[in-house]
């Protein structure tokens, strides 16, 4: 009986609440909503590789990717087509492409225009969850972070389908990271659902008391950076929303150095 009740309880969190919905069209390419940053202090780069060629071999001459850029409000303001070369690494400097009139941060998606037959036969979709790097204040090294969210698909008519599921109940994402008082943090969050989402970002003390909170209404495809400057030791972050996993991208700045990682 106890086990049955537990199964029912879990079902309220899992039934028809997928992290990523299936794209409407078979074989449609999928991408993360990667965060871009562009300012005097921040530059953004993307490691472009020919994913279809990894599956289908180098016979993919003339293939390319479409990179779609969104501002923080979720508005698609630009698209760029880039040719890809099998077996080569192409580190794209995105700041020059984005320009300086679309704000200091937003998101972008990378859609491969060819899905190999070997993947279509498996009922799978090619997913770009690749690697973004950020340079802070002209540092000699960029800091890398991988994509981790299959957020958006591009359909054959070039329309976009957001794939993020939505929870029936409010969920909390407890960032398992101890905030360092000597650092400043910016927590990037994106909305991969087709509905506006209210997100509450709370800062907790070591004993669990709320020290501060920010409330944000995020449009579909929108993004935001919550700024947190810890004033006490062992502070932590909780994100409350109807997103299935409100996992933030964490930028940690200490003096002149920066680190970035997924929460």
């Amino acid at each position: 009986m106890k086990r049955h009740i537990e199964r029912l309880r879990r079902a309220t969190w899992t039934y028809k609440q997928p992290l990523t919905r299936v794209p409407a069209i078979a074989g449609a390419p999928v991408s993360d909503l990667f965060v871009w940053r562009n300012s005097e202090e921040w530059e953004t780069f993307f490691e472009l590789t020919d994913l279809p060629a990894l599956f289908a071999g180098p016979d993919s001459a003339g293939r390319n990717v479409a990179i779609v850029f969104f501002d923080a409000a979720g508005y698609s303001f630009s698209e760029k087509t880039v040719e890809i070369t099998p077996g080569r690494r192409n580190t794209l400097a995105l700041s020059a492409i984005i320009g300086n009139v679309h704000g200091a941060a937003g998101t972008f998606s990378v859609f491969h225009t060819h899905t190999p037959q070997s993947l279509r036969a498996l009922g799978s979709h090619l997913a770009e969850r690749g690697y973004v790097s950020y340079r802070y204040r002209g540092a000699p090294l960029r800091a890398y972070v991988h994509g981790n969210l299959d957020a958006i698909a591009r359909l054959p008519d070039q329309s976009l389908q957001l794939l993020g599921g939505q929870s029936f109940r409010l969920r909390e994402y407890h960032l398992q990271h101890s905030l360092d008082m000597q650092c400043c943090y910016e927590l990037g969050i994106v909305n991969p659902t087709s509905k506006k989402q209210r997100i509450v970002c709370r800062t907790l003390s070591a004993n669990g008391n709320t020290l501060g909170s920010h409330v944000l209404d995020l449009a579909p495809c929108g993004s935001h950076l919550f700024k947190v400057a810890p004033k006490r030791v062992q502070q932590r972050i909780v994100m409350r929303s109807r997103l299935i996993m409100a996992r933030p991208l964490v930028f940690r700045v200490q003096n002149q150095t920066m680190d970035v990682f997924h929460g």
């Binding site: 000699p140 969920r171 398992q176």
Partner: protein, 262 residues
């Protein structure tokens, strides 16, 4: 239940921070103190000791210096949270029961130099044996004094020592191997990536035909003032939905056949 290793890398010390609270509010609702267990391989058996207890909601950082009294220099320190202490000696890797999946219960795995630090949120579960690895890693960085390393992180249930070989190729020239390195199970094996003739436009492909692992990539300046750490995806992450594990098998079969065969 996952393990949380204390990493090691040239010019850096490892530090791992554990959290006794779940990453969400619905999978594991127990609010209880948990034992911090330390586990390592010594004399071909798993050894464990309980370092202390972590109250619910608490977090605690452990550096290599905190475990040096127990763990031999060449062994990988593995931290974990469990409801009880583990046996002092065990033939197979001791395992607890708690955990979450959306996301996994994680720790902060850091590398700290005198001037900077870098980290990722991670966990380590035992890999199947023999297992294998295929990964494409566009992480190397270039410039005066910049060093690049791969940290091959492995954990298996058995404490019996074994080694394997990691091979690195340029994916555009799969017939010519650029480097070959021995790696150990239940360890973090450090591989220097510099000096193999891999440049900014080369896409390195790394394989290991009989051992799985998490390939971590560390770039650092010689003085340690700048660090970057990230891991690559397994090939299954290139696809979603459908038979994605079959896609991974397909990719491994294709590339294992292609590499070194010219």
């Amino acid at each position: 239940m996952s393990f949380y290793p204390v990493l090691a890398a040239p010019g850096c010390i490892g530090q791992t921070t554990l959290y006794n609270f779940p990453p969400n509010n619905w999978e594991d609702t127990r609010k209880e103190s948990r034992c911090v267990n330390l586990t390592w391989v010594q004399d071909r058996v798993w050894c464990s000791v309980t370092l202390g207890e972590l109250a619910f909601g608490a977090m605690q950082a452990y550096a290599r210096s905190d475990v040096v009294a127990y763990v031999p220099e060449d062994a990988l320190p593995l931290l974990s949270l469990a409801s009880s202490s583990f046996p002092e000696r065990s033939e197979t890797l001791p395992m607890g029961t708690h955990g979450t999946h959306m996301p996994n219960w994680r720790a902060t795995l850091s590398l700290v130099s005198p001037l900077a630090s870098t980290c990722y949120q991670g966990e380590l579960d035992p890999f199947p044996v023999p297992g294998s690895l295929l990964t494409f890693a566009p992480f190397m960085q270039f410039g005066p004094g910049v060093e690049n390393y791969m940290l091959f992180l492995n954990l298996e249930k058995s404490a019996q020592a074994r080694t394997s070989t990691v091979e690195i190729y340029d994916s555009a020239v799969p017939g010519r191997r650029r480097g070959s390195f021995e790696v150990r199970n239940n360890a973090v094996s450090v591989v220097s990536l510099d000096g193999m003739g891999i440049g900014p436009e080369n896409l390195p492909v790394t394989i290991c035909k009989d051992m799985s692992g998490i390939p971590l990539y560390l770039s650092k300046t010689a003085d340690g003032a700048c660090l970057s750490l990230e891991h690559t995806h397994p090939p299954a992450s290139y696809v979603i939905h459908g038979k994605r594990w079959d896609a991974q098998k397909f990719l491994k079969k294709e590339w294992f056949a292609k590499l070194g065969q010219a």
